[in-house]
Symmetry: C2
Amino acid sequence: MNIGNVSNLSGLPVKTIRYYEDIGLVSPLRDSNGYRAFREKELHKLAFLGRARSLGFTIEDCRALLALYDDETRASADVKSIANEHLEQIETKISGLEAMRDTLSHLIHECAGDHRPDCPILKDLGAFKN
Amino acid sequence: MNIGNVSNLSGLPVKTIRYYEDIGLVSPLRDSNGYRAFREKELHKLAFLGRARSLGFTIEDCRALLALYDDETRASADVKSIANEHLEQIETKISGLEAMRDTLSHLIHECAGDHRPDCPILKDLGAFKN
DNA sequence: GATAGGGGTTCCAGTAAGTGGAGGGTCAAG
DNA sequence: CTTGACCCTCCACTTACTGGAACCCCTATC
């Protein structure tokens, strides 16, 4: 299977697939013309990667997960531990963003948003917070 | 005022302050020995930047906000519009992360997390989703 | 006067995860 | 035989810094 085909099936851009080969996440064979020749195995791995990335796992997480995916003797605890750590990071990120959102929406609410220069948003940003 | 001093007062790392000069966000004078000499004005700008960045504004947003901050004849509507757009992006990000969190925590819940290889997390990641 | 420390300076390289483009080879159809 | 859709490699760029090397400046101490 050629890269364009795999791209369609996996939903990953061609460029991304080449990049994943570059960093060693997949290792397709090559045809005599130099074209990448993907097997089912690689297609599955790429779909796996796409899904894992869409859940926000880092590439290094993906690498570890893929190794576990390949390893028939894995312990599910190892997978769960990676997922749990990632979940915590997501929750931390959400909290941070929610704090930003709350502050910002409060400031926006205060701002008249007209032709006048007075602006609580700028006033807040310009104030020292210690 | 030297850079270390400004760093302490603004809370920004020295490296970051130099970087902000590099990209034209602040323009401190120079002493005869080549040291940056910051005035009150720059200190305020740097504090402004730190605060704006902590609310998640991009550097380019900060550049625009700083220009409005400097402009006594600004319209608060311009500030509000930047802030509103940013707020929307934050909300989009939060939604995305919440979706990840929900999927992931569901999968984690399903996974036994023991020595056995069976793992709903890997199973889900490996499945094609169309 | 030499030296040690704690400032400061510049410039180069690297981070995460791709994306865009240049320049060029390959293949099937008309 | 040419056209258009593929494919290839390699390089540069993105965001917002961060780390490090190599070097200068200032003050205090031996």
